[in-house]
Amino acid sequence: MDRKCLLVIGAGVLIRLVLFTAFPSLPTILAQRVEISTPVTSYKRLQEGIYLYTHGVSPYDGGVFHQAPLLLSLFSILPPSTIVTNLLYVLADIFSAISLVQIASSGVPTVTPHHVSPRKANSWPPWAIAAAFLFNPFTIATCIARPTIVFTNTIILHAIAAAVNGRRGPAFVSIAMATYLSLYPILLLPPLLFLTYDSLKPISKPSIQAFSAISVIMLSVVLMVYFKLSHLITGSWEFIASTYGVHLLLPDLTPNVGLWWYFFIEMFDSFRAFFLCLFQLHLLIYVPSVCLRLRKQPLFALITLIGICSIFKSYPAIGDTGLYLSLLMLYNHTFPLMRYTFFLAAAILYATFLGPAFYYLWVYAGSGNANFFYAITLVWSIFNALIVADAIYAVLRDEHETERPELIGKDVVQI
C-alpha cells in the first residue's frame, strides 16, 4: 500500500462523502432507479424489512423484503442515522478498493504458476486499479444508492484477495458469505478453488482433489452456520424460500437491466417453469467450460464468471457490471489484443444514457411503451456479453502468444 493508493482511496471517499452531503436527496433518487436497485438488493426494501423486523412482524412472510437475515440484524444493531449508514457503505467501498490493491499487488493477473504474460510490463499499477474501481460511475452510483449488492461485491473482492494470497480460510468463509447474501456467487467456487490452490505455497501442497473436498466441506459448514444464525435471528426457516426462492423463481417482475423480467412477463404460463430452469442452467453451463479452458489463469476465469453472472442472473444491476469492469482492469495489459474496444465502449455509453431516458418515456411520460426499455436492456446485455467475449479473446490470445512468441503481432484465426 503506497502513498498513491492511499491518495486514490482518499479521493474516492471524498467524492462519496461530498455526494452524500452536498446532495441529500440524491441517495433517495438513485435508490429508486431500477438500474441500480433490484427487488433483492433495494435499500428501501431493506428499510421496510428492518421496520417490520423491529416491530415484531416477520419480514419474510411478505412480498417486499427478500434479503438475508444477517443484513437485517446488522442494520437493526446500527443506530438509525443516515450518516452511519452512509459511512458503512463508504467503508465497504474502501474495503473493496483495498482488496483490489491487494489483488493487483500480488501479480496474479500477469504471473500464475502455469502462465507468464509476455505483456506483464504493461499492466497497471495497483493504485490505478483502485482508481478504476473507486471512480467508476457505476460503482459510485451504486454506493450512493446503497443497495446491499455493495456488501456482496466487497465480500467477493475480499474472497479473491484472500485467495490470491493463498489464505484459504478467509477466502472460503467470504465466498460462503457472498453466497449467503445473494446466491449466485456460489458459481464462483470452482475458479476460486483453482485460484487458491495455485496460490498455495508449493511446500505443503495437498492434491487438488483433497484440497477441493476440504474446501467444499468448509464452505458448506460455514454456510450451515450462517443459516443456523439466521434461523436463530428470525425464528423460522421461511427466510430461505423468501430470499433464495426469489432469485430462483422470479416472482417479482420489477424491471431491471437484465433479460429476465420482460421475458417472464410475456412468457406463456405453461412454459414458465421450463424457461426458468433453462435460464438458471444457462448460467451454470459456463462454469465448467470457462474453468477448464482458462485453467492457467483461474483469476480470469473467475472474473469472466462474474461478468457472465452480471448479465444473465435473475436480478442484475449496474453494480454487478461495475464490479466486473473494475476487475477487468486487472487484465489491462491484454487490452491491446481486444478487437472491438471502441465499439463496445461506445455501445455501453449508448445504453447507459438511453436506458434511463427510455425508462422515463415508458413509466413517467407515457409516450413510450415497455419495449423501449426492453430494447435498451437487450443492447446492454449483448454488448456486455461481447465485452466478456472480447476479453476472453484477448486473454486467450495472450496465452497463445506465450506458447508461440513468434506469432506476436501476426493475424491468427481460430479453428
Binding site: Q32, V64, R293, V363, S381, I382, A385, I392
Partner: protein, 609 residues
C-alpha cells in the same frame, strides 16, 4: 321389461308409506300454521329531502323467524335459496353490500343508519363462518362466495385468497351467540371494488323479499331508476338475535336499499328521455352578476325546490301494501315516512293513509300506512324559497387519494377530519390492498393538523399483514384518535408491481380498482356531553391504480429476441473457448472458387453412382 315391472311393483308397495309421510308433513305444516306468529315481516320507506335538490330514499325490509325452524329448513318468510346456502356453509352471520356512487358527506351530511348499511364501491361482503380451523373456514368461505355469486349474479366467486382479509379490530358480530363457542367463529371479509352493480343484481335481491317487488314499497325499486341515482347501496344482513328475557333465538334478515335521487335529473329524464340542454326560459338566472343580461345567464342552483311525486321520480306508484307487512296486528308500524313539514306536503291523496299519532314526536315527520291493493303516492309541491333540510353533521369526514406520479412508485394519502369542536374521536382505519400494490410500512405516517404541542402519536395500535405475491393482499388496520376540530393525515408510499401479461385484465390501461378504506368508529361516550355514539362506519371512495403495462402483442417477439441475445452470447463465448488459435498462413484457406471446384467432381461421382 321385467325391470319396468319391478319398479312399478315397488311404487305400489311403498305407496302407503308415502301417503303416511305426506300426512305427517301436512300435520307439521298445520301446527306451524297455528303458530302463525312465527315469522314477522315489516317494511319501511323513509324519504328525506337533502340539500341541493337531492332526495334520499331508504328502503328497509326486515323479517324475523325462530332459529329452530330455520335450522330444520322450514322456511316461511326467510328466503329458502339464501337459507340453504347459509346452512350448507355454516355461515352464522352474513353481510353483503352492493354500492355505486359516492355519498357526498359535505353536502348531504351523515349517512343514514350510521353508515351500517353502506358498503364500499362495488361488492363487499363479510361473514362469520363457524369452523374447526382456519383451513376449513377458508374452504367454507369460498363455497359461500361461489354460491352467493350464483344467487346474486355477481362475480363474488372472484373473492379468492388475495382479496380476503381477516379484520382484527374493525368488525364485531352484530348477532347474539349464546350457544356457539366464539373461538369457532371466523370472520372473513372480501371486496370487489371493480364489480359494476346493475339490474341483474337487483332482481335476485327483490326475489328474496316476501312480496318479491310485486306489492308494497318494493314496487318502487326499478333498475332504471335505482341505478340512475347519484348514490345507491343495497345491503343484506343475516344474523341471529336472542331475547335476553326468554332466551329464544330468532334469525333476522334485513335488506335495505339507500338511494340518493337527483330530483332535477329524474324529472328531466321523465320529460325528455333524450338529454338536451334546458330552454332558456326554464333557466333561473342569477341577475346579481354584472354581466347578467338577456343573452348571458348564470344559472342559479337551489333557488326553488322542484315539485315531485313518487310516480315522477320512480316511474310508478306504490301498488298497495305487502300483505305480510299489512297484517301485522302486534304493532302499527308506518310504511312510508317523509321528513317534511305537513303544511308543505300536498295532501290530496294521502288523507286516508296518514298516521298522525306517530308524527307527534317529530314535528317535521309525516308517516303513512299502506293498505292492501290501494295504490299510494305522495306529491311534493314546488317550494320557493326552498325548505332547508335537516343535515346531520357526520362524526368524521374521510377522503383518500393517490399521490405521486408515474407508474413506478406512488403514495396514498387519507385525510380524516373531526368537525366536532369539543370531543376527540377514536377510529379504526382498515385498508385491504391488492398484492400488486406493495406498501412500505416504514413510510406510514400520521400527521396532525393543527400540530399539537407536545407531539403525541395519534396511532395507538397497528395491525399489519404484508402481501405475498399472488397469494394474499395487504391488510392494514390502525387504531387512532382524531383530536377535536383537527385533521389527521395518513400517508404511506407504495410500489407498483409489474404483472405477468396474463394477469392483466382486458382493459389493462384503465387501471386496477383498490377497495375502499373502511373507517369504523367504535361505540364510545362523548366526554363533553356524555352522549353515547353507536358504531358508525364510513367508507372512502375506491381508487384507480394504474400499473405499468407490457406490450401485449409481443410475447413471441420477446421470446425470440431474448433467446437470440442469449444464443449470441453463448455462441460467441463458447466459440472462443472451444477453438484454438493458429496463424493465418498455417491453415489452408479455401476460397469460394476452390470450394465449388472441389464440390463438382463429388457431385458428378454421386450422379454416376
Amino acid at each position: 321389461m321385467p325391470l319396468f315391472f319391478t319398479r312399478g311393483h315397488q311404487w305400489l308397495s311403498f305407496s302407503p308409506l308415502q301417503a303416511f309421510s305426506r300426512l305427517v308433513t301436512f300435520l307439521i305444516l298445520l301446527t306451524l300454521a297455528d303458530n302463525a306468529v312465527a315469522d314477522t315481516y315489516k317494511e319501511k320507506l323513509d324519504l328525506q329531502p337533502l340539500s341541493g335538490q337531492f332526495l334520499l330514499a331508504s328502503f328497509n325490509f326486515q323479517s324475523h323467524g325462530p332459529i329452530e325452524a330455520f335450522n330444520k329448513q322450514m322456511f316461511q318468510l326467510f328466503p329458502r335459496s339464501l337459507g340453504q346456502i347459509l346452512q350448507y356453509t355454516h355461515t352464522r352471520e352474513l353481510h353483503l353490500r352492493f354500492a355505486l356512487g359516492r355519498w357526498d358527506s359535505e353536502l348531504w351530511g351523515a349517512q343514514p343508519g350510521d353508515g351500517q348499511n353502506a358498503g364500499g364501491t362495488g361488492v363487499e361482503t363479510w361473514a362469520w363462518v363457524e369452523a374447526d380451523n382456519d383451513v376449513e373456514a377458508e374452504a367454507r368461505w369460498t363455497s359461500l362466495n361461489n354460491a352467493l355469486s350464483g344467487l346474486f349474479c355477481a362475480s363474488l366467486n372472484f373473492i379468492d385468497s388475495t382479496r380476503t382479509i381477516r379484520p382484527v379490530m374493525s368488525f364485531n358480530p352484530t348477532g347474539d351467540y349464546p350457544t356457539t363457542n366464539t373461538s369457532r367463529l371466523f370472520l372473513l371479509h372480501g371486496s370487489l371494488p371493480k364489480e359494476p352493480v346493475c339490474t341483474e343484481n337487483l332482481t335476485p335481491f327483490l326475489k328474496l323479499l316476501p312480496c318479491k317487488g310485486k306489492s308494497g314499497i318494493s314496487t318502487l325499486l326499478d333498475g332504471h331508476k335505482l341505478f340512475d341515482a347519484s348514490f345507491q347501496s343495497m345491503s343484506i344482513d343475516v344474523r341471529p338475535i336472542c331475547s335476553p328475557n326468554t332466551g329464544t333465538c330468532d334469525i333476522e334478515i334485513q335488506q335495505t336499499v339507500d338511494m340518493v335521487l337527483d330530483i332535477s335529473r329524474s324529472l328531466q329524464r321523465r320529460d325528455s328521455p333524450v338529454p338536451r340542454p334546458r330552454d332558456q326560459h326554464e333557466l333561473i338566472c342569477d341577475t346579481s352578476k354584472p354581466y347578467a343580461s338577456n343573452e348571458y345567464c348564470y344559472p342559479m342552483d337551489n333557488s326553488i325546490d322542484l315539485p315531485w311525486s313518487l310516480s315522477d321520480l320512480f316511474g310508478r306508484t306504490i301498488s298497495g301494501g305487502c300483505p305480510f307487512a299489512v297484517h301485522n296486528p302486534a304493532e302499527e308500524i308506518p310504511h312510508v315516512c317523509i321528513h317534511a313539514p305537513e303544511s308543505k306536503l300536498n295532501t290530496m291523496e294521502t288523507g286516508e293513509f296518514a298516521v298522525s299519532a306517530l308524527a307527534e314526536g317529530q314535528r317535521d315527520l309525516q308517516c303513512y300506512m299502506l293498505r292492501e291493493n290501494v295504490p299510494f303516492d305522495i306529491s311534493f309541491p314546488k317550494q320557493q324559497p326552498p325548505i332547508s333540510p335537516l343535515r346531520q353533521e357526520p362524526l368524521l369526514y374521510a377522503e383518500r387519494s393517490f399521490t405521486g406520479h408515474g407508474q413506478e412508485h406512488g403514495g396514498v394519502k387519507t385525510v380524516l377530519r373531526n368537525p366536532n369542536p369539543n370531543d376527540a374521536i377514536d377510529v379504526v382505519y382498515l385498508e385491504s390492498l391488492p398484492w400488486f400494490m406493495k406498501p412500505y410500512l416504514h413510510t406510514f405516517k400520521a400527521r396532525l393538523l393543527p400540530a399539537q404541542n407536545p407531539e403525541e402519536d395519534v396511532i395507538s395500535e397497528l395491525y399489519y399483514r404484508p402481501a405475498l405475491d399472488r397469494k394474499r393482499g395487504t391488510q392494514l388496520e390502525a387504531k387512532l384518535t382524531v383530536p377535536p376540530n383537527s385533521v389527521v393525515i395518513l400517508t404511506y408510499d407504495f410500489e407498483k408491481a409489474v404483472l405477468r401479461y396474463t394477469e392483466y385484465p382486458p382493459d389493462a390501461n384503465r387501471g386496477f380498482d383498490v377497495a375502499s378504506a373502511i373507517i369504523t368508529i367504535p361505540p364510545q361516550r362523548r366526554r363533553s356531553d356524555g352522549k353515547q355514539i353507536t358504531t358508525t362506519s364510513i367508507r372512502t371512495t375506491s381508487l384507480l391504480l394504474s400499473l405499468p403495462t407490457p406490450d401485449f402483442s409481443m410475447p413471441y417477439n420477446v421470446i425470440i429476441f431474448t433467446s437470440t441475445i442469449m444464443a449470441l452470447a453463448f455462441g460467441s463465448i463458447f466459440n472462443l473457448l472451444v477453438r484454438r488459435f493458429v496463424a493465418v498462413d498455417e491453415v489452408q484457406r479455401m476460397d469460394l472458387k476452390a470450394k465449388i471446384r472441389g464440390l463438382i467432381p463429388r457431385l458428378k461421382k454421386g450422379k454416376t453412382e
